[in-house]
Symmetry: C2
Subunit: 767 residues, 2 copies
């Protein structure tokens, strides 16, 4: 009689390994050899038995499929009738003893260690393999799912606040058939469509929303920001075109002009009767706008100005609304009177007539195709001695008097220029809010997709929604927390701006510059992760991540290059610090040192630096202290480092250059702290039913930021490795928990259905 596993059951002890050797992709040729040797060394098997076993692992005569199925049956039977075994060898014993006791307990003890050694040598992960062999598996990962632990509507109400009416009106408009997305790749078609959308909005009174009622507006600048933000769920070319026309163009007139300009222009601008632009940037002067070279030469005889582009490099570049639609632009130019340069001033310069013909002396080039925002007609403008009347000077901060003399209340050219720019800081509020809306849309798409899309799963189990994978959660949940943090932070910025005084203007400018950078970079990173999280679906333009990403790409550059802006933020912080703590002021040094010493006592003691208690790690006071400590230390050390570099003989410009990366960290630390504080304040105010989920999100925001900077905290000795590791674990747990809230949390953004993507809105969700 031939030997088989059935008639010689003791051989079944090796059956699981042999089955796996063929069924799974786990053994190399050498390992087959090792298995062969192992069999040869088993003294309890007869020669015939050994030959049988060896024949079953002969690479030249693999088992047929029916034999594999038969083995699987034997395995299944053993698994069904017994507790899950701990190793393949134990499984082997179960198979062998299925019908009668072939191996005694003593036998098992005798064999077990050498067989376990075999499994280990072959690199088999027994537990994993056995789990795979079990036919149905009910894992924690499988069961995790979306729950409704709070009301998304209530959350929307919290987010929208008293702006809900205008938000809902705008959402109604962009969700209407007229606002169906333009899918033509023809730039000319797209630009006209965007203009048409702007006209509809203007007709409804949204263009002039920020302008005084006297000039046809609603006098509601907060509403204007809300409109910009809400439109950003829709097409971002529309947002930017809208912002160029009613914000940059209209508000340059409103903030830099005087009564005569308001009367003459504001009403028409708000109705889009005069499409216009904002011509500041030049080819050679983008970030360093103070250095622009365009001139406005005053002619006293004719009481007019002549606008001139001196060289190719001084042409106005990237000007929105210039390539096709604009009829006038606000031009920033150096005012020259009698060969004397009176610094940068602003002028209204007509560039086209009503029939879109370019006027004499003006040359316009199209910037051509861009990475995104192709619905906006950016252009390059040259002025070949264009004469404009006296009244076209926007003369709020400086005038030419009747004698032809320059008159100003701000004699410093520098200060006057930055005062002018300061009035335009609103752009740095509109842009980060628009960026945030784009990030929210991306998150809504990626999170809803991840909640539905299934891929992989335990062997023998169902495939799992990809949002149940920890890795996937850790890619998306921190950005969801950021979105909420940034929402509250940008609300705060808006309120600070609306209630500004001259006294805190510098701080508000720094805050706006910082939040613009922070938010636009955060959007860049959020959308990148969302695209990748949606895989191939994320690459299809219909699913919107294409436009969201490419349109917001330039947000990190325009309205001030982020890297440059962050330096300004840091400079402001350092200036504040210097005021509090002059180099020579003994009293303040003393109190500073004392303060630091206190930190050393209360926070840098071994108990605190090693405290891994969950309650402590979720303690808002701990967070705030850690954030403030970082901010303060970075500022203080920057001042010390800079002084040392200069004391060592470096030119201050060279010293500042070395300090740039350090300065960037100061700006981040400052903004992180502001966002943290604002989130904390929201927790206190929020409806009880929202507190739990908001607290989870808040904790994730705080912990994530601490982890982003953990190497700094470790270097400082503010935390030890055990604590940062505990934070990491908490991070994973928070992401896991928030995953269940993630869909309602993005539903709370209440993004119009047609602004989402087919992958998450059509019935065949995954198709």
């Amino acid at each position: 009689m031939n030997i088989t596993f059935l008639n010689d059951p003791k051989l079944s002890i090796l059956l699981p390994v042999i089955y796996l050797a063929w069924q799974d992709d786990i053994l190399t040729k050498d390992e087959f050899k090792a298995l062969n040797n192992f069999i040869n060394n088993q003294d309890s098997f007869t020669k015939a038995e050994k030959e049988f076993l060896k024949s079953k692992i002969d690479l030249n005569t693999p088992p047929g499929r029916s034999e594999l199925f038969h083995w699987k049956d034997l395995i299944n039977r053993a698994l069904k009738n017994n507790k899950k075994p701990g190793s393949l060898t134990q499984l082997g014993f179960l198979i062998a003893n299925a019908d009668r006791q072939v191996y005694t307990k003593e036998d098992i003890q005798k064999f077990e260690s050498s067989f376990a050694q075999l499994e280990s040598d072959l690199g088999i992960m027994s537990q994993e393999v056995i789990s795979g062999l079990c036919e149905t598996r009910d894992t924690i990962t499988n069961k995790h799912e979306t729950v409704e632990s709070f009301s998304a509507q209530k959350m929307t109400a919290l987010l929208d606040g008293d702006q809900a009416p205008v938000i809902n009106r705008i959402k109604g408009i962009i969700n209407s058939p007229e606002f169906a997305f333009e899918t033509s790749t023809d730039t000319a078609v797209y630009r006209e469509k965007v203009l048409e959308w702007c006209k509809i909005l203007a007709k409804e009174g949204y263009g002039s929303y920020a302008y005084p009622k006297k000039y046809g507006g609603s006098g509601d600048i907060e509403g204007y920001f809300t409109i910009m933000e809400t439109l950003s769920y829709h097409d971002l070319s529309l947002v930017i075109k809208f912002g160029v026309q009613f914000g940059l163009w209209g508000m340059s007139v409103m903030f830099l002009g005087t009564e005569k300009h308001f009367k003459k222009y504001l009403n028409d601008i708000g109705k889009l009767e005069i499409p216009g632009g904002f011509a500041m940037t030049e080819t050679h002067h983008g970030s360093n706008v103070k250095g622009i070279q365009t001139t406005a030469t005053y002619n006293h005889e004719t009481r007019s100005f002549t606008i001139t582009t001196p060289t190719e490099y001084d042409r106005k570049e990237y000007i929105g609304n210039a390539a096709v639609h604009g009829e006038m632009v606000t031009v920033f130019a150096k005012l020259i009177i009698d060969d004397h340069d009176y610094g940068v001033n602003a002028f209204i310069v007509p560039i086209r007539d009503k029939e879109r013909n370019v006027l004499n002396g003006v040359r316009i080039k199209d910037c051509g195709h861009k990475m995104g925002l192709n619905g906006v007609d950016n252009g390059i403008i040259y002025f070949d001695n264009v004469e404009i009347p006296y009244d076209n000077m926007l003369d709020r901060f400086a005038q030419v008097n009747e004698k032809g003399e320059f008159v100003t209340s701000i004699p410093s050219d520098n200060r006057r220029f930055f005062t002018m720019l300061g009035t335009l800081v609103g752009g740095r509020i509109g842009i980060p809010r628009s960026a945030l809306a784009a990030a929210k849309t991306g998150l809504a798409i990626a999170i809803k997709y991840g909640d539905n899309r299934r891929q992989f799963g335990p062997d023998g189990g169902f495939e799992v929604p990809i949002l149940n994978y920890r890795m996937h959660q850790q890619r998306l949940m921190p950005y969801l927390a950021n979105a909420y943090a940034m929402h509250f932070g940008l609300q705060y910025l808006t309120q600070r701006f609306l209630n500004r005084t001259e006294y805190d203007m510098q701080e508000i400018e720094a805050l706006a510059a910082g939040m613009k950078s922070y938010s636009s970079w955060n959007t860049r990173d959020t959308l990148q992760e969302c695209r990748e999280a949606c895989g191939g679906k994320g690459y299809l333009s219909e699913n919107r991540l294409d436009d969201l990403k490419n349109d917001t790409e330039i947000y990190t550059t325009f309205e001030g290059d982020n890297t440059v802006l962050m330096q300004l933020v840091a400079k402001n912080r350092l200036g504040e610090f210097r005021k509090q703590f002059g180099e020579m002021n003994i009293a303040t040094i003393f109190s500073y040192v004392l303060d630091q010493a206190k930190t050393a006592v209360t926070e840098k003691n071994p108990f605190a630096t090693r405290n891994t208690d969950d309650k402590h790690l979720k303690d808002a006071e701990f967070h705030l202290h850690a954030f403030k400590y970082r901010e303060k230390e970075l500022v203080g050390s920057a001042a010390r480092r800079f002084k040392k570099l200069v004391d060592d003989g470096l030119d201050t410009f060279d010293a500042a250059n070395i300090m740039h990366p350090h300065m960037l960290q100061i700006a981040y630390a400052y903004l992180d702290r502001v966002f943290l504080e604002q989130f904390q304040q929201q927790l206190e105010k929020a409806d009880e039913s929202l507190k739990e989920v908001l607290t989870r999100l808040y904790n994730l925001f705080a912990v994530n930021k601490l982890l982003e900077n953990k190497s700094w905290y470790l270097e400082q000795g503010y935390m030890e490795g055990s604590k940062t590791k505990a934070l990491r674990k908490l991070f994973s747990q928070l992401c896991w928990e928030i995953r269940r809230d993630a869909v309602p949390l993005v539903d709370a953004f209440n993004i119009p259905e047609n602004c989402l993507a087919p992958i998450v809105t059509t019935k065949s969700k995954e198709a």
Copy 2:
């Protein structure tokens, strides 16, 4: 007589502060008040003098411009005739004493501290301000520039190696007028252009380069990779279309088929007479391709197969060449014989006739517009019971015999499927090499632009090339170092693949999967930084970063999602580890523990963890040890963690889920180490004249990677804060040094002129 600064020179001690108060944007209203109080408190001034001074800081009567100019003259004179003063007060003394000694040394000592206190209270940075007042400044930052410290040609020769002939031929082709970039936004036009380009390449014999000579090819698979890489300096739609046709389609026939298929198809595929595709991915099965649902049912009577798409979700998706041009595709489907599922096999299925008519039973949808690669016609394919002849089964690894039985040398469906996929690993070599070429192009554009573009500068000095800013250097130089590291690493991967044996196939597959992910993510990050580094210019499509970014965006997803692939890499490493170090193997545990202990002695002693010596930080042995230590520790701790989780009762699937982020780190640590080793080997081999610059680049790569992981090293106690800070300083210094070599280093990529951007190639470089 009215008091003036000229007739009462002692008052000039305050002139610099007053001048700055108006000229610069530094004092608030409150600070004006503080200055007022300060003046009131000066006992050495008369009442009239105080009134004069206070009148000069009266916000209601600002000085005229001519007065400001006058003050500036006084300041300039003092600065010109004296050594640079250390504070504004010292500058004030110099002005006061300009004509005669108004203040004695004793006076100066008397006044100095209270005036310094004033400056400090006002937050004035004296040094910076004084530097700003100096009319010409010669800073280190200004003078830094590109040098030619080595021969770019020699470097090109090193990079190209023996592939130079084919590289130069391809560069000649893509630099020809026929290959001028297509600028139409009409997808249909673009697709035809790309097809035309592919035909030109096919005609020249480049399509069939990898195929055996017997079937019309050159039998040169290394050359094929080189072609893919070199084409990637040009249009990436061309690269992908080329790769789909000659790689995916042609090589699926070459590697999965047998002689009869080679004879029938290879020659025509290589000549692009049969455009085709590779139909594996399904809507519901992208990453988890093992789970695809398309079926190929064998009909014994007719000896044919029927290809069927069971449900909407099982359609083939994203198939390149399918939407317009493809005539045949390799379809992956589950083979069904007599209702029995024999696992995934591959079949050639015709989908269109020569006139581009879709065949009966086939339905094709266009994937539509994508984020990038719009020159490739991706499509969705449904098969409604399409019958194909017996010979269309690609039968290298499994066959249906004459009796209608399934026959295979690899009985495990799993193993057979992965063996099939393993033969196609070449795609995971072509893609990362293509990605690297795109990153090189981006770097060449951004670095050359940064070398020319000037913005800001010391007050009174010229504007500075932005590449002289440390921040800008630190954004770009690490990616330049990465590009070289990756170049050498991918050369190594290619050689390992060309010299592969069955024995090391698993490792090569892991290496390819890992490098594909590593390289495509690195390209994503490189191009993002390059785009931002070019500001608005980087946003214009003509400057190529648009297409480079958007085309390579999908590289992180296709040919295997990076996140999934990195898990496979880590699994492979863990498997290797388990083989070396089974749980029960006392001997290996002992040697492992001993090894760790040795590390503790040699590397974790306080001297090593705190060693900030420059030589040590640049020591290749230190680098290699640190990289290996990280790799080993991560693998070891993963094994321990996983075991603990399972021992604690978690299902292995849940435990694995928790481990995913840890696994990602393992994959990174492994790849970092391989890239480091390969870079080290290149240093030894390189021409003497290149060693210095390559060593700098190598050091930057090593130091940058150590810094990326510094929190881990700090947590482990492998380094202390003093050491990581020293690494950070070295990093800054290396970036500063490499900036001088940066232009020749990108010139060494020898990228065809027309593949670069107008911002760096036209004469008016910055225009």
